[in-house]
Amino acid sequence: MVIEEAVNGKDDMLIDGQMADQVLPSGFNLNFLNLYYAKLFPYGDIFKWMSYGNDGKHPACDKSYFGRRELSFTLENDIYLRFLSFNSVSELEKGIREKCPFKIDIGPVYSVDPSKRHAYAQSGENVFKPVERELIFDIDITDYDDVRYCCSGADVCLDCWPLMTAAIKVINTALRDDFGFRHILWVYSGRRGVHCWVCDGKARRLTNEQRAAIADYFRVYKGSENSKKKVSLTGHALHPFLVRSYTEVLKDLFEQTLLSSQQIFSTEDRCEKVLEMIPDESVAAELRGRWQKRSSGSKDDINAVRWEHLKHTLQSGRHKGQGLRRCVEEIVFSFSYPRLDMEVSKHMNHLLKAPFCVHPKTGRVCVPIDPVHCHEFDPTTVPTLSQLLQELNSGGMGQEGDNDWDRTSLGESVRFFRSSFLEPLLKACKEEMESAYNSKLQQSKNSLSW
């Protein structure tokens, strides 16, 4: 049995050869990955997605489309292979199984096959360039390190994960309601963040300038080492997008969850961090003084109590400073508003990790996240490589032609990917393709008539 070989070949950790009771060592190794690519990675689904309907029989289908998509592989020992492309699902599978990449990235669709780009370099004018690319977002929890106290760096836990949940809700709602996008895929990055793929035709055809504009629309936090106050909401009112984000997501996240999970007002240092965000020193001093006289014996959570003090003081109208108008919202936004990696979104040629990859450091699979139920998503229970292989092992022999992933925890993810993302997307692509084709036909008919 292949799994036994994989285990015993690499590590002599097992003494007993009992298959059913085997406890596979946790984590990640090349042999496991090989098996994953052999049995579980959903090549067909990725291929169908990336083809956007061009793999069909309709005369409007562009057979070169999939072959013009760039992929990149990061191999063991950090060897990086760029500008790879494949012409069919079987080539894709063959390529991945041969190289067994630790990471697979997806780039744009270029004007010509990226692996043949040098052939076009002679023509002078920019013949090799990206022509389509999903609108993508990358949110990494380490960008919130200055406002999360439970973990730092690569760690993530259930106390700070709600920041990701909030980010998904805020961005997803805006992408749908404000920008009118429909085909949005959210994916767990495998360790400490989430990725977003917006796949509407309208999104894939956006220019770099338009992508930058969308990223800027989402940008609120302007952090740097030098500024104490990193969120500045000027103006007499908040933009409707910010109002909605605040009232539907962020206010509750901050007050119901973060205040206590992050213990935001529990120490003098942490209080000072918030007080620094208040532009009026007399207000800050008043609060500081009040909190220094710590009254012990109060049963209420100190964070909630102090937050009420702060809100009351700022919103009482007693102090009328220029910068105080939106101070409460600014503080809430500082702690909770989504922080995007702007560079990822702005350029068509930026690569992003493919869904269903396995993260080398955690062994977890990059599974899709349902934005509607994102508050139920738990990063600590995402299937790992070894867990999946274990499940395959003990799942018994399936029928020939069965999908192996169906016998594992990955099944749920693949089914979700298909039903809520891939199928609606392909349906829309087909409609778009047919209608464009028909209108072109109509146009040429019209031009022929006298």
Partner: protein
């Protein structure tokens, strides 16, 4: 000038008497004297350079608008042109020096990536400020002219989103929408700047743009059309015009792109702005660095080489040192010949060598 396309004959705002902003969509078909060809282009270049200067100094919008208004005299219709082309059906529009100069400069600035980029930026900026200065009706006419597929928001739609529009206006300190406010509904892709700054309400992929923001729309369209036109012009230039015109237009066109048109120092002054007794003080406090350096060296060494004398001497004339005072200052070293004070470009181009003190400190000094 080449005839590229016949101008479209339709009832334009001009015929109704509304002054319009030219959009430079079609090449005018009329005869221009070779001298005028160059002169008009130089005048326009002055305007564009003035804008470039203003922008690099970080002038605000209101200041830029004032600047553009001050330079608008350059675009007044020209009497001689009118007479020569009276027969033409659209004489009134085509008379404009504005239009001719724009098309001449297209030839000049289409030829490299850098030239195109500069021209595109300055012409778009010029267009934008002029547009802002137009009346509401003229602005609407321009929108229609560009055939922008933007729909005016209906009264019913407006009522439904009025509170959101108000929020947006308040968030960017803009005048609040009133019952008769006009808003345009535009796909968000068309107005990236407004989206980026959260200066519009977005819903289902559409941006709701206030009339006063329409400038952005129009400027983007203007820029995009001009960019395409420049590429075409370049192709034509390279393939036919340059060779065809090598004895006539080509030398003029090539010379124009390298000439610097900065502030005009050739205007004579009647009053002495600086007097001899003040000169040390003024030199210390107000001279530009290059001149201050020359001045100090002269005081120190009681001597300056030729170019240094030229640079400083003409500068002193430019700031209004009276002739008698200047003569006294130079102790008979100053010549009677009437030179024009040097522009920055000229000074930058004079390389000082050993013993010299002229030149531009920012360019030449270490």
């Amino acid at each position: 000038m080449e005839i590229v396309r016949r101008p479209q004959l339709k009832s334009t705002a001009i015929d109704r008497g509304v002054p319009t902003l030219p959009l430079y969509r079609t090449t005018p078909s009329l005869e221009v004297r070779l001298d005028d060809f160059e002169l008009y282009a130089i005048d326009r270049l002055r305007v564009l350079t003035g804008i470039s200067d203003g922008l690099s100094r970080g002038k605000r919008s209101e200041e830029m608008e004032k600047l553009v208004t001050a330079m608008a005299w350059i675009f007044r219709p020209v009497a001689e042109l009118w007479k020569a082309n009276m027969r033409h059906p659209q004489a009134s529009e085509l008379m404009s020096k504005d239009i001719i100069s724009h098309f001449v400069l297209r030839l000049v600035y289409c030829r490299t990536e850098d030239l195109r980029k500069w021209f595109l930026s300055m012409e778009t900026a010029l267009f934008r400020y002029r547009f802002r200065l137009q009346s509401a009706e003229a602005q609407r006419a321009a929108l229609a002219e560009f055939q922008l597929p933007y729909k005016a928001v209906t009264a019913a739609e407006f009522e439904a989103i009025k509170d959101k529009l108000t929020l947006v206006a308040r968030s960017i300190n803009q005048t609040l929408p009133a019952a008769d406010s006009i808003f345009y509904k535009v796909p968000f892709q068309e107005v990236p700047e407004l989206v980026a700054g959260r200066r519009v309400f977005l819903s289902d992929g559409y941006a709701y743009v206030a009339m006063i923001q329409v400038v952005s729309l129009v400027a983007t369209q203007f820029r995009s059309l001009l960019s395409k036109a420049l590429t075409l012009t370049n192709r034509k230039w390279m393939s036919t015009i340059r060779e065809q015109e090598k004895d006539r237009l080509t030398p003029i066109v090539e010379a124009l792109s390298t000439s610097y048109v900065g502030p005009d120092y050739s205007v004579g002054r009647e009053f002495g702005e600086v007097s001899l007794k003040d000169i040390d003080n003024v030199a210390k406090n107000s001279f530009p660095l290059c001149m201050r350096h020359l001045f100090d060296k002269l005081r120190e060494d009681h001597h300056l080489k030729h170019w240094g004398r030229m640079q400083l001497g003409l500068f002193l004339k430019g700031v209004g040192l009276k002739l008698d005072d200047a003569v006294a200052f130079w102790k008979a070293e100053f010549s009677q010949k009437d030179y024009t004070p040097y522009s920055c470009q000229k000074i930058i181009s004079l390389t000082p060598s050993v013993g010299d003190h002229h030149g531009c400190p920012y360019r030449h000094f270490r």
